[in-house]
Each structure stands twice: as C-alpha cells, then as structure tokens.
Symmetry: C2
Subunit: 600 residues, 2 copies
C-alpha cells in the first residue's frame, strides 16, 4: 500500500547548490561524474529501485528469511531475481574502483543512489551494503593476491561480503573476543568460534560469501590490541578462481528480530574454518575501522532513507484522509470533512519530517563529498580539512541521523492514527526497520563517545575548530535577504550553544571525564542540529540566489525558504536546552549507588 | 527472559506521602482503604500479576490470537486459565461499585493495581480494561434495567465489554459514522455496520461480551450531534438473566498489528444485530466521553506500566552485562570488563527512565485521587477543584505519559544493544506494545488539542489557574533544605515557561486559532514536565522531612533526592525550548501550500 518516488529533484538541488558538484568537475576522482551520467544514475537508478526493490519491501518483511535443516538460507520471494537484476544492470559497481571492475563514480553519487535503495527496501540494501564493507576492508588491508582473488567478484556483486565482529559475550568491547585462529602449515589459519548478529551471513543471492572475521591468534594479548582480521570464504576459491570445497563455516540459526526481516541476520559457526590473515597480525582493528567508518555513514543514510519514504507516505495520507475541520473553518465545505493536512499538529509533524529529511540529505551528501575530497583532493590541506570534518561528523550523521530517522518514522506512523499500527499499511515496518540503525555499527551512545571522547580532542580540537569556522564563514557569507538573515540569527545562537558546550567540556573534562560522557548524546544532538542547520542556511541562501536569477521554479525555492524558517523556529531552539543538559554535568547522572536503581 | 517485580515500596511511598491516603481515611469513598487492605492489594495483587500474568506476556506476543473459520477467537495459551484465576481471586471487582458486587475501593487504589497488571501483561490487562469502560458508560447512562441486566456480570468479570467507535472512514471525527440503528417494534434497535480496531472484540475468556456501539438513528443529523449509543450483547440475555440466542454480531477478522498481539483487535460486523439505546437518542457522545475520560487515564497508565517493566530490565541488564571500562579507570579490575552501569550514557538513559517513571507514577496516582475527590469529596469546592485539575491533566497523563512511555521503552531497549533488537530478550515487545498507547483513545495530537482547545479555555481558564496556584503553593511550602531549594528554583523557572506559553496562547489564539494548534503538543509536553516536576518537588520535600524524622530507610530517601536533582538538571531545562517552539506560532507550520510538501 505505501508509495515511494525517489526525490530526484531534491537530490539534484543538493548536488548542484550545496555539494557544488560542477565546481569539482575537473578534479581527480570526479571525471566520471558528468552531468548526463549523474542524471542517468539518479533517474535510472531511482526507477530501478522504485520498480524492482520497493514492491518487495513489505512482502519481504512479512515473509522473512528461512533457514533450512542443511544450514542454507533462502531470502524472501522475489529477492533472488531482484538481486540478479541489480547485478546485471550494474548498480553494484557504481562507486567501486575501476581497477576491480567498478565504475569509479564519486562517493557522493553512489551515496545519492544508496539513499534511494535504502528507502525502497532497507533489508535488501543491506546485502550489497555489507559487501561494500568487505570491499573497503580488503582494499585497505588485503594482500595483492587477496585483492585479486576476491575484489573483482565482490565489486561485480557476484559474491557477497560480511563483517563478523560480535560474539555472545562481546559487542562494543572487542577485547572480549573469544574466536581463535590457529596457524596452519600452508600459511592459512583455522578459525573457530561463534559470531552473532551477522547481517547477510548466509543467503541465496550470490554463489559465494566472503566473511571478514575478527579472531585472536595464539599468545595474543587478551585485549583489543590482540585482534587480527581474517578473510574466510564460504566456498573455497581455487588457484584458477573457480569455486572449490565448502569451508567449515555455517549458519547456526537466523535471529528473530524486531525488523529488517528480509535480511538474514545469522549466528555463524566457525568450526576450524580456513581463513587467511588480512593485513598484519594483531592489527585487525585498524582495518576493521576503515570498514566501520564507511559503514557508519551508510547507517546514517538508513536513517535518512527510511525517514524519506515514511515522510512521503505521511504526506500522501494527510492529503487523502479526511477527518475533522480546519480550526479556521471548513476548508472544503462540499466534503464531509477536510484532509488531515489542515490540522496544525499534523503539519507540525510533516514539516519537522521535511525539515530534518531534506537537511539530513544535504548533510549526508555534503559529508560524502568530504570522503571524496579526503581521498582525492590534490591539495594537502584540503584533504586534511575534509578528513577532519568527516571524521567529526561521521558519528553525528550515524547517531543524530538515525535518532531522527526513528523519530520521523514514528511521527509519520502517528499521522496514520490507528491505521499506522496495522501491518498492511506499512508504516509500522518503517519504525521497526529504522530502530536497528540506532543500535548497530556501534550504538548511538558509542557514536556519541567517539565524538566527544576522540574526535573533539584529536589534534588539539582541530576538527571542531574547522567546523565552527566553516559555519561562521557561512554566516558571514549569507545574503542580506531578510528571510535568510532571520534564519542566520537563529543559527548563530545555536552555534553559540555549541561553542559554549564545547568550552564547558574543555574546562571540565580534564577534572572528570564523566562530565564529558554524561553530555555525549546531548552534544551529538546539538552538533547534529547545528550541522543540519548549516545545510539549511546554504539551502536558504541558494534559494534566494536562484529566485533572483530566475533559474528554478519559484514554488520549489519558496518551499525551501518556508522549510528553513520552520527549522529555525521549531528545531534550532532545542540547542539551548541541550546545552543546559550538558552543562549540568555528571554529578546527578553518576550519584546513585548501583543498588538503589531499584527499591528493594 | 525479562523480569518484573511490582514496585510496591515506591507505590506505598507515593500513596503515603504524595497522595496522603491516610489523610482521606475518614472521607466518603475511602472507607474500605484501610492500611491493611491497601497493603494486601499491593502485595497480593502484585504477586498475582507477577506470577500468573507476567509469564504469559512474551508467549502471548509470539502466539497472538487466532480467529477460527466460524468467527470465534481463541486467546494465546494460558490466557483463559489466567483470566479464570483473575476473576476467581476477585481482582476484577476491586474498584467497582458495591451495588453491583464491586469492592468499592478508591480509584487511586485500583489504579495502583492496574499499573502492576499492565506492566505484567499489557495485552491481557486490556480485556478487563475495556470491560471497565463498558461499566463506566452503563453506570453513567444506562437505564435501571440495563444496569441490572449487565453490570453485575461485567463487574464480576464473568462477561467482558468493548467500545465500538471507529469505522474504516471514521476515526477521531465521529461525525463520519455510518453504522445505522433502525427502531424495532419491541423497543430494540437493529444495528448494521462495520467497526474496526475493536480491542477485545471477540475472545474465549468470558461467556458473553457486551458491546457498546455508536450508531446513527434514522433522520439524525449527519454530524457528531446525531450519534446514539447502543448496548449490543454478543449473546442475548433472557429476562431471567440466562443466555439465549447468538446476536447478529461477529468478528470478521483480527487486525495484524505492530504489538499487543495477545489482545484480539477485531473488525466487528453488525448485521442487523439487536441493540438497546443507552441514554437518550443522539446523546451518545456524552456517555461515550464518560467512558473515554476514564479510558484515557488508563492509557496513560499503560505508558507508565510498560516504562516500569522496561526500566527494571534495563537496570538488570546494565548490572549484569560487562562491556568496556569506566571512564575513570577499571571499576572491577579482577573482571575482564566493568558492568554497563559504569558508563555515563547508560546511566543517563536509566536515570531519565527512573525520574520519569517514578514521577509519572506519582502523577497518575495523584490524578486518580482527584477522580475520587471529584466524585466523593463532601465539599463542593473541593469537588470542583479536583474535577478541574483532573480534567486538565487527563490529556497530559495520556499524551505526555505515553510519549514518555515509548521513549523510555526505546531507551531501555537501547541499553541492551543488539540484544535489544532480538525478540527472545523481550525488550522489542515493550517498544511495540508501548507504541499503540500514543495512538488509541484519541491520538496524542488529539489529546493536545483537547488540552489547549478545550481544557485551557473552559470556565475562563479556571483549571490552569488552579494548577498554577497549586504549584506556586508547593514552591512556597517547600522546606528550606538546600537540595530542595535548588530543585525548587529549577521548577519555578519551568513554571515560568508554562505561564509565559499560556499567556502567549491567550494573546494570540483569538487572532488565529492555528497559533494554539501549532503549539498544542509542545504545550502538552511542557505541562507534563511541570506537573511531573511538581510531583518531584513533593517527593523531594517528603524525603527531606522523613530523613529528619528518621522514619524510613535513608538510602531509599537519598535515591529520591538524587533522582529529583537529575529531573531538575536534565529534564526541566527542556521547558525553555518548548516555550520557544510554542511562541514561534503557526506561520511557518501552516505556510507551505499542500502541493509543495513533495517536490514534483
């Protein structure tokens, strides 16, 4: 019953006026991103996901994945054929390196396409999503032979990939890993242990699955410093590249989850499975973090993708469903009731969803541009600034983005009233699916600690300084137009809250690091509101500029200005209370003795 | 896997020191509530729900209800037997009127028990919950014969009750009802139509089900003014009270819902079913609203109940699960990792849950006391003030209480990390169950409109004045203790935000009612924070007083003071941004033309 139309026009607006894609046209890494190619990706890619993946979203949720007695897993009806089309149409290779058969498109373009894929079918999008993680890790740390053996098939989508970190006793704290790797005479390793929550761990979409597995080698320290990374194929790959024997890795069960039912989240058993060391022994976390940073941006994009499809359906229902009358008198007196859209509280929810979704789209795509610049900009300082900014904002895009994604999905479900609670309408699936994005790839609390505990402090606070300088410059450069000026004043106040909270951490964190920990999540939200707010300043400024130039549909630009105003009046005020929560410090948070959390 | 222990000690603290139950001992309606009886209700009732209902919560969710081809419905395994024990132990009759076999306990006591029942098994608690709604409507508007026919069996729990309002095209806007009632020669009416989302609509727990149904009589105006209320038994009741023929009402299907799977939410088909008018023709909404107000407080209690059980499990997991180290150095160096409880962000979530849950418990029980006083106080002005206060706070307890219940359930799920997303751990069920409470009995947006559109304005703002006077008096009466004074200063500031926002509505609502509608939900949250904050002032003051008197365990009282401090430093600051959102008004909310919500 739900609908989805890829928001191509909005993506294009962001790419043109916020990312400034044309300005990068001549730079290394952007060669392939000519306007016609970008248009084709957005239009054709959008059509593909809307026509092929979206129709399988609800049925995939209802059916889920099935594990058979022999340990094999089948995905829901239609998934295998859709995946085949996905690979044959070349969508798997979009952002990958041409050395291994990829199209070499900038990250910012593949990110735009990924949003559409997630919005169409988040559980489906996770299969190629995990493959990208494996590609990233092997590209960063694999040997030339490993790259040659695995990357072409992973890039083409013929094989899938997974990340195996979590164990029953070990989540965030990877030092607790028990999976062992024993060296074998032929240079391989025998991997033994149990991994849980393995997304896409076993399925029928690809002829092979390449598992990247964290394990401990003999004598390694019993901490995160003793972890190594291994590549463990489901089916052994012979010297000539053909598939050989089945490896000793199998799916023990499929987890019963709240959502993303169409992705097979597996318990994986390694029973002396043959693996090969990726990178150096006991340096596994370094390679894993390359993969995790990319994955975290991808998870932030899940917040955005689900928010967008939920928003579109909220709007459709609010236009269609009639209930009650406008407070200012019947808007459509010939009908028995007015559409829900006349009610201020329904609009409040829709406008909040619109302001956050469009703002997060701009932030995700601008963030993806920083990933491109970090790796490809010719200028050293440009690369460093991009690396600083995306390092700082990765936990924000993941943590703030997915918290907002869940809130938006919940609000859009609320627009549907009782129907929102009924499975057939599809809205409750968006809430269940959105929920996992706040948890995996490091819970949002872990993201917040990465932000305030690592990213703020690194290099003497260089990254947060760069961010504040950037926003200050945007404020200084904002056009003199009255609407933009009013918005800029609100953003400036919010930036002041961010500066104040940052200084408070600086002044108090040395005395007691718990002062920083207790404010971590509020700070992540504060920075998220300001970063998204900075995007809205850019969008409002662009709208004013384009209106003056008569370059785009004025109604579309007016909508940007109204939405920016809403963001300034309704969302930015929250930074003040977040600042006060942060400046409350840790005392009240930490004071209660553990025994007193529950009255005896 | 989850655990639940009824928080008897905390309930008793609230009843003694916030509700002041002993002070009401001699008053009409409180006769039965002697200390030993109250203790027995809390202890025995708590034991019953924990031992009999709680073990069926997860299995009931997994199994759900089953509709058979003949239209009959069976509840999950164990429900029928548990319901039989519930009736036989007399828990069904607790708060009901002695005239019909009830125990006549004050509403505040039955409310305390209801919280435990909901926390144990929300879907189960809905069966007697809906019966209470039917009892309330028949008591308010039924004829003497109707009362004699139905009330004794409903009160005893031998029969169940339902409320039939919603139809496919008609939710909040009851004027859109299409179900028709045709008068019959014998004085009965033939009811024809389809009702949806009927909680407990058909099941195997009771030998009969008494449906209260809204329908339109011939020639009635095509608006909410034309609605009448009918009583329609599933099985006809003969003159001698025995059961006769099956009525023409049946369950067409069970809705597939996000949660509360163990409650049978039915599509009910009325095919010329025999019914009798309850109260006057075309005055059905009046009787329905008696029922709805009671039901709304019950739904607010669902927010509290689910929050409490989720919180208890969050605490248990945070104590048990070890992951990472305290920021200030290993807390338990002999173990491989510290418990989650050492992490400030985990504590932040737990303390927020604790502060809101205990605050909402006080608010719900204090509110239930107002229901008792509204009906039973001897003094006219005491009755009026109680009626004003509970009228004002009913939408707040429902709307704010369930929004917080969902947030707490989500946060407690977050404490579990990946395990929170897995069905076996039970946390995801709490989120799914808590979600419906924000929707039914009037969505929370509808609650907020009831608050700002009706309750604020009634009688020249008498109720909000009474509330603000009450809080001001509490502030004036607060003990001079430093901890209480610091908290009182924060509450005073929050009260100032409430006063400011109320005056803003007064000044701007006449010009444009949409200014009020656009701020309705933020205002409901602002009032909820202040009302819960007033309860925390009372609890902190009581803790200080009792510590000085050496009357209770000092550690329990210290925990109250720490939690009050947390509430003041971490939750009350939010009122400032809510005020600013409200004072932003409707312009940005309403400005966007409907066509521009989605870019073409």
């Amino acid at each position: 019953m739900p609908t989805y139309t890829p928001p191509v026009r909005d993506t294009r607006f962001v790419l043109e006026h916020i990312v400034g894609l044309q300005g990068h046209a001549g730079q290394p890494g952007f060669e392939g991103a000519t306007p016609d190619v970008v248009d084709a990706v957005l239009e054709e890619g959008g059509r593909f996901v809307a026509e092929v993946l979206f129709p399988l979203n609800h049925s995939g949720d209802q059916e889920g994945c099935t594990r058979h007695p022999d340990g094999s897993v089948t995905t829901p009806a239609g998934f295998k054929d859709a995946y085949r089309q996905f690979v044959e149409s070349g969508w798997a290779t979009l952002g990958n390196h041409p050395d291994y058969g990829g199209q070499g498109m900038p990250h910012v373009i593949s990110t735009a396409f990924q949003e559409y894929m997630i919005a169409s079918n988040m559980a489906f999008a996770m299969y190629p999503g995990l493959t990208h993680g494996a590609i990233a890790a092997l590209t960063a740390a694999g040997s030339p032979e490993q790259k040659a053996t695995y990357l072409p098939k992973l890039v083409s989508g013929e094989w899938g990939g997974t990340m195996n970190l979590t164990e029953p006793q070990c989540g965030t704290d990877l030092g607790l890993i028990r999976t062992r790797a024993e060296p074998q005479a032929d240079g391989s390793w025998a991997i033994t242990g149990t991994k849980i929550f393995i997304s896409s761990g076993e399925h029928d979409l690809t002829e092979n699955i390449i598992h990247l597995v964290l394990a401990k080698t003999p004598g390694a320290p019993d901490s995160s410093k003793g972890i190594s990374l291994f590549v463990v194929p489901k089916i052994m790959v012979e010297g000539d590249g053909s598939l050989g024997a089945r490896n000793a890795v199998s799916c023990g069960s499929i987890e019963h989850k709240m959502g993303i039912h169409a992705n097979s989240t597996c318990v994986m058993n390694y029973d002396g499975a043959t693996g090969w060391l990726v990178g150096e022994e006991m340096r596994g976390l370094t390679a894993m973090f390359v993969m995790m940073n990319a994955a975290r941006l991808g998870v932030g994009l899940q917040g955005l993708g689900v928010a967008e499809v939920a928003y579109q359906n909220g709007v459709a229902y609010a236009r269609d469903r009639r209930q009650g009358r406008a407070l200012t008198g019947a808007r459509e007196p010939a009908e028995k009731a007015d559409p829900l859209l006349v009610h201020p509280d329904v609009r409040r929810m829709l406008m909040e969803a619109k302001a956050l979704t469009e703002g997060l789209r701009a932030l995700c795509l601008w963030g993806a541009l920083q990933v491109d610049l970090e790796h490809k900009a010719v200028d050293d300082s440009e690369r460093q600034t991009a690396a600083d900014l995306i390092g700082l904002l990765t936990p924000v895009i993941k943590g703030f983005g997915t918290d907002m994604g869940y809130r938006i999905a919940t609000d859009m479900q609320q627009v549907f009233g009782g129907h929102g609670y009924i499975a057939e309408w599809g809205m409750e699936q968006y809430v269940r699916d959105a929920r996992i994005a706040m948890i995996y790839e490091g819970t949002n609390g872990v993201q917040a600690m990465d932000l305030v505990g690592r990213k703020l402090a690194q290099h003497g606070g260089r990254a947060i300084q760069a961010f504040m300088t950037l926003v200050t410059r945007k404020l200084a450069d904002a056009p003199a137009d009255a609407a933009v000026a009013a918005y800029a004043a609100q953003l400036k106040e919010a930036l002041g809250d961010l500066q104040s909270a940052t200084l408070w951490f600086l002044a108090n964190g040395m005395k007691n690091p718990e002062h920083v920990g207790a404010g971590a999540v509020p700070y992540m939200h504060l920075l998220g509101l300001v970063a998204t707010g900075a995007m809205w300043l850019d969008m409002a400024a662009a709208a004013v500029r384009l209106k003056a130039a008569d370059g785009e549909d004025a109604a579309f630009l007016d909508a940007k200005l109204v939405t920016a105003r809403f963001y300034g009046e309704r969302l930015l005020p929250r930074t003040a209370s977040l600042r006060r929560e942060i400046e409350g410090g840790a005392d009240a948070v930490m004071a209660l003795p553990p025994a007193l959390f529950l009255a005896a």
